[in-house]
Every structure is written in structure tokens, then in C-alpha cells.
Amino acid sequence: MASGKGKSGTGLARQSGRGRSEPELPQAAVSWEYAPAPESRDVVSIAPEYGLFVDGEFRPAASGKTFATVDPASEERLSLVADAAAADVDAAVAAARTAFDRVWRPMPGSERAKYLFRVARLLQERSREFAVLESLDNGKPIRESRDVDIPLAAAHFFYYAGWADKLEHAGFGPAPRPLGVAGQVIPWNFPLLMAAWKLAPALAAGNTCVLKPAETTPLTALLLAEVCQQAGLPPGVVNVLTGDGRTGAALIGHPGVDKIAFTGSTEVGRQIAASAAGTGKKVTLELGGKAANIVFDDAPVEQAVEGIVSGIFFNQGHVCCAGSRLLVQESVADAVVDRLRRRLTMLRLGDPLDKNTDIGAINSRQQLDKITELSAAGEAEGAQRWSPPCRLPDKGYWFAPTLFTGVSQSHRIAREEIFGPVLSVLTFRTPAEAVAKANNTPYGLSAGIWTEKGSRILWMAQRMRAGVVWANTYNRFDPASPFGGYQESGYGREGGRHGLAAYLSA
């Protein structure tokens, strides 16, 4: 046995863990490669072309124009989708209005509930199809779409189905009313889940919807439209318009829309808020973030490292609430970063459909360029850059998990949202300093706190200017748990009882 024998603990040197910039990777006596374990693509059939979903049926855009959507892991085309323009937005909003006035608003809540339960059940039954399609269109690992995205999407429909017939008990008055037609624009990072976050509460509250999925990830929204048909949802209650930013702008600016819900960048969110000013439209926005993940000297360190990894590398860092700034107490910074580097060498980057993949593809060339540019800026600003050894496939959009140490608040990589697998590491000395640094940003979406001390968790949580605070965990979502930001991370909450507020008037 390699461990040796003899008297307890004699003559064994202690290795110093300080001052190294590279981890000493363990000398492998053997190495055990996991064989490829691909999820089969056959479970989902992708049509060569999709139309818009308006008034209960699929139809081409009025202009006949289409655009392609690709698999970011291989750059191969998956399908063509319709490019909706003003005429299509008119038609969709009109269909939603008619459905609202004639069918959905007059319908008893208990019946609306049963429609939403059906959608939830269908999502569960077709979950494997949805998971594979999501990974193909978005680039995220199948393990995440299978275990996180799709189950949460179904759960959102279940949760809000249960509110549809209980609105008088939700704390918004004895007879809260829906707002009307909701125009909803969602991003590419969690395509199906974001669709669920928008549609479920809106429909439960009695509104009808026009949904605009992101340009690079339209497919699961279109499959969801098919599910709505299969659930027997009355025509016009849900409409799906594919297109790019112009389609979104046309939808949001449409006078027939009573309510705007947008998830995306802070930049676009500002424009929307400005353009909605004075129109009387209700607006909720869920925007960017630059969350601090704060690790104290008494953190449960092994789990903290998992939380750091999950915080920034889950979904390739394409998460608005990503823990993109590690704020580690200075006294343990070297030790924690050492552990972190070792842990990062275990991450598996590659084919999103492989069940063992941890890190998938970046969603688009555009996003990859942005991440590359900001990372270069980080180096230029003097931070130390490190990535675990990582073979990037030849085709597709890929970026290796990256760590920057020696980062200061004034660096771009500490201030700007990178939206990629890039972690900036900063240090702090005292709890108050951690609070100050964490809050020193115009964003305010989320924060993480790692310490074994309960009172400190609560003290810090009270002081975090963030809509979501995770303590000794990170990136946990639940339909019952409200989510949303402070300040430039947007306003309004999604999830929970509070999530109904966006879609009701008392």
C-alpha cells in the first residue's frame, strides 16, 4: 500500500499551500476516462421551418421572411423560423385582445387553472424532447436542461396554475383584476424557463400573452406553443412571435399591449422604461447583474468552492444572477483559490448532448466576442488570468472557464457584466468591507454569503442591496421563491405570491 506504515504520523513533511500560482495536480496512478455518453437527438424531431404561433395556429410571417437558428456547439443550422414584423405584431396583439375579452377574462379561475395544469403535465411528459431541443438550440449541457431548466419550467406552470382560482387570497384585495394583453420579451440564456416565468403568472392572473423569444433560441418556445395547442388552450391566449430586436421593440411599443415584461440587458431595459414612459403601460424588468459571492474565513469551504463554481460556471456563466465576483476574506484567499483551481481542473467542457459535460457552448459568436474582449481587458488591466487545461472543439463557440485574481473594484472585469464563464476574484478584510464592496455597483440582483455563522448570514443579508440573497448555496430557483433585482437590475419580482403583482391590478 502506498500509504506506508509504522508509528503514527512520524517524520512526514508538511507541504506549504501558500504562494503558488499553479496547483500541483495529483500524480495519477491511473486515469479513468469516461466514454462519450451522448443523449440521443432522435427523441425530438425538428421541422425544417417554423411559422409564428398566432391565434392558435402556426402561420408564416406576413412578409414571408425567415431566419436561421443554429446549434452553437457545431454551428450547424437547426431550422428556419419566421421573422415577425409590425403586421404580425398587430395580428398577434389583436388575437390576444379578442381572446382576453371574449374567452380568458370571463373564464372562471378554476378552469384557467386546469389549462395550466395540462401545460405543466405536458411539459413533464415531453421533458426529454424539450431538454434535448434546449441543449441543441442554446448550447447548454443536457444535464442542466434535463435536471434544471425543464423541471423548473413545468414546476412554474404547476405553481401558478394553483393561484389561478385563488387570486382573492393572494393579498391583492378581494377581487384583483388582470391587466389585459401582456407583451413579453425573453432572453436566450434559459429559453424555455424564461417563457414559463413569463407565461405562467400572466395566464394564471387572467391576462393573455404575446411572447417574443430570443433570436438565437426560438425552438423551445415554438414547441411550447405546440404544447399549448395540445392542452386545448383557446386560440389567442398565448401567441409566439419569433424575430430579433426589432420584433421585440415593435411588440413593446404596440399601443394594444397593456403590460410589458422584459428580461435581458440593462441597456435595453433602460430603453424600454424610457419608451413606456407616459403610456400607462405597466412594466417589469429583469436585467443584468454583477453579483458578489462572499466567502468568509469560517465558510464550509468545500461546499463554498462548489457554490463558487456553480455561481459562475453553471450555464456557462450566462446567468443574470451569476456570482461573477468572488469576494473572499483575505486571510483565506490563497487557500480558497488553490482549492478552486483544483476543482476547475475537474470541469468537463464539450458536446452539450454528452451527459457528462459540465460546460457547454457559448450561445453565439456575438457573445463569445464580448467575453473574449472583456477578458483581454482584464489582462490589460493587470489582473492575473488562469484557466484549467481545456481542449476546445474546432467548430462552435467555446470559452474555457477562466479565473482572474488580483482584481480590483476599478477593473472593467469587476464592474461590467461579462455574461460568460469568467470569475473575478477580489478580497476583503471585514464584514463591513464585504458589504461595501458587494454593494458598490449599480446592479443589485443577487448575492451569495458563505459562513457557518447564522447571525452573520442574517446581518449580511439585511445589508445586501440585492433582490436575491443565497446563503451557503447559490443559483437555487423555485417557482415559490420571488426573484428580481434592485436598482439597475430592474424592478418587479417573478415567482412566489409576489410574482402575481406584475399581472394584477387591485
Binding site: 500500500m1 502506498a2 508509528k7 435536471d147 464550509p300 469551504v301 480558497v336 457557518e452
Partner: protein, 320 residues
């Protein structure tokens, strides 16, 4: 005494005072374990999909890591001999499966086992120190160890005194461990923590460190006589501890999981834990063992399925 920082333990492991208070400072100063986070990490690693040659490799590795075990009041020389024959030659169909790592018996059957495995690579491990409860005087426990060592055991699987540990008498536990370590002589010492009785993962981490500081060659989860026995989160914590101990003390300690591991699927999950926690260096019978009895045939059945493509039946594998 200053509290150690999070991460690699920053104290000289050779100089630990054996007083309860000093040991408590050290053990309670280890970073805490968040139970929910540990369970989630273990569950995430359990989703690894091991296929084809990776699976065949895993099955052969697992077979070579099995400590084939019989620890019943009704054990007889005949039973032990049959088990030893199986350990030497688990499967008659070619290509032959590797032999098991060891057989594990009570001390009074060590001599029988030794004869039965002579000439093979299979080691003889004996449980000792008033297994499974550990409730006896130190003198009795040491006599138990000496019996087994005299009879020729290569490895001793001892139990710690859980009562003393839970009562905070860390000094006593440490002293007993050290005494058993000495009594083992050249035999390797596996220390059973009986994690099901320790209950919390913090206790598992502390007991792991205590055992390693006192000279354990292996830390082992369970006697197999108490439920829960081995679980993935417990193994995760122990594998993290041996990894960190190597960094702190420069010595590699092995991990043995025992109790309740019945299927090849379970066994492969543990191998994944080893691979991604302690690291591939631990993927050897010298540093990782699985204590089991019925597991072996499931490993053989899966091995047969991988090779032939057909699901096997129990009749095609010997019961011992």
C-alpha cells in the same frame, strides 16, 4: 491555540497533544461541512454516465477493490473457505475477472482464510477491537488485535469507540487508535468510524482527521451492522479529508466504503466520487476498497452484460 484557516490544515500533525481540549480545538476548527451542499455535490456526481469501455474498466476496478466479507455468528471454516475460493476466482467464464482485494473475517477464522488464499494476491483482513460495537476495555481490544495479527492477518479493520467520540473524549479515542496502530505491527490499519452513529458530516470529518492523525492507513465508513452505513455524502466528506490530509501531512490514506453497497451501479458511483474528489491517484486497491458480499455477483453480471450484450441471470454466477 490559534484557529486554523479554512483550507489545508495549518498545523503540525505530528505534534498533537492528546488532551481532549487540544484535540477539540483542532477538530472543531476544521472547516464546517454544509450537509445540504455535500448531498447536492454527491447527487450531481451520481448523474455521471459511465458507458462502454469506461464501464468495463470501472467494473474490473471495482471487483479488484472488493473486500469480500463474512462477519456472521454462524461463520464456519467451510463458509470461509468457500468465500476465499470465490475471492481468488470470482468468475469462471473467460476472460477472468481480477481477484478481489481481500477477504474480511473475524479473528478466529484468520488462519483458515490465510490457508485458503495462500499463493494468491488476496489479502486477509480481520475485524478487531470488539467489532462491531467497540464496547470493551482497551486491554481486551488490543488482545483481539494481537490474536488476529498472530494468526497472520495482513490488515486489521478496527472500530473506534463511538461512545467516547460522541462524549467528546477525543484524547481517549486518539490514544486507543495509536495503541492499536502499534499492536498492528506490519499489518495495515483500517479505522471504522461507524458514520451512521456519528450522524453529522461534521463528525465524519472530525473522526476522519482524528484517525488519520493517529496513523490510520485507511479510514472506513461502517461495520455494516448499523443503518445507515456507507452513503455518497459520507464518502464525499471522507475522500475530501484524505485529499486534504495528503496536502497537510504528505501521506496518502485510503478510504473504504462498506455496508449497503449492493449493485454495480452503486459501486460505480463511488468510483466516480473517488475520481473527482480525492483524484485518480486513489483509484487503486491500495487506496480504495469496497466492503461487500452480494455486490460481487452484481459486478460480475454487469460485466457479463457489457461483454456479451445480454442481461445475465443469477444461476450463471456462483453463490460463493
Amino acid at each position: 491555540m490559534a484557529r486554523p484557516a479554512a483550507g489545508p490544515v495549518e498545523f503540525d500533525v505530528t505534534d498533537i497533544a492528546t488532551s481532549d481540549a487540544a484535540l477539540r480545538q483542532v477538530l472543531h476548527g476544521l472547516p464546517g461541512v454544509d450537509q445540504v451542499g455535500a448531498a447536492e455535490r454527491a447527487a450531481a456526481l451520481a448523474t455521471r454516465s459511465i458507458k462502454k469501455d469506461a464501464k468495463l474498466r470501472a467494473l474490473d476496478m471495482a471487483i479488484s477493490m472488493v473486500d469480500l466479507t463474512t462477519l456472521e455468528g454462524a461463520d464456519t471454516p467451510g463458509k470461509v473457505r468457500a468465500m476465499c475460493a470465490k475471492a481468488r476466482q470470482p468468475d469462471v467464464e473467460p476472460p477472468p475477472a481480477p481477484p478481489a482485494a481481500a477477504v474480511c473475517v473475524y479473528p478466529d477464522l484468520v488462519a483458515v482464510a490465510r490457508d485458503a488464499v495462500a499463493g494468491s494476491s488476496v489479502k486477509v483482513a480481520a475485524v478487531a477491537t470488539a467489532f462491531p460495537s467497540g464496547r470493551a476495555s482497551l486491554a481486551v481490544k488490543l488482545a483481539d488485535v494481537e490474536d488476529a495479527v498472530r494468526a497472520g492477518a495482513d490488515e486489521i479493520d478496527m472500530v473506534i469507540d463511538r461512545g467516547a467520540f460522541l462524549a467528546g473524549r477525543y484524547g481517549q479515542v486518539y490514544a486507543e487508535l495509536a495503541a492499536v496502530r502499534d499492536a498492528c505491527g506490519n499489518a495495515h490499519l483500517k479505522v471504522i468510524l461507524e458514520t451512521g452513529e456519528l450522524v453529522t458530516l461534521d463528525n465524519v470529518a472530525r473522526a476522519s482527521w482524528l484517525a488519520m492523525m493517529a496513523g490510520a492507513d485507511f479510514i472506513k465508513t461502517s461495520t455494516g451492522k448499523v443503518t445507515p452505513a456507507a452513503t455518497l455524502p459520507v464518502a464525499l466528506v471522507m475522500l475530501g479529508a484524505v485529499r486534504d490530509f495528503e496536502q497537510a501531512a504528505g501521506r496518502r490514506v485510503g478510504v473504504k466504503v462498506a455496508g449497503g453497497i449492493r449493485t454495480a451501479k452503486d459501486a460505480i458511483r463511488y468510483l466516480v466520487l473517488v475520481n473527482e474528489t480525492a483524484g485518480p491517484a486513489w483509484l487503486t486497491p491500495d487506496l480504495f476498497r469496497i466492503g461487500a458480499s452480494t455486490l460481487l455477483n452484481d459486478l460480475l453480471m454487469q460485466r457479463s452484460k457489457q461483454r456479451t450484450g445480454r442481461y445475465a441471470g443469477a444461476d450463471y454466477f456462483t453463490i460463493d
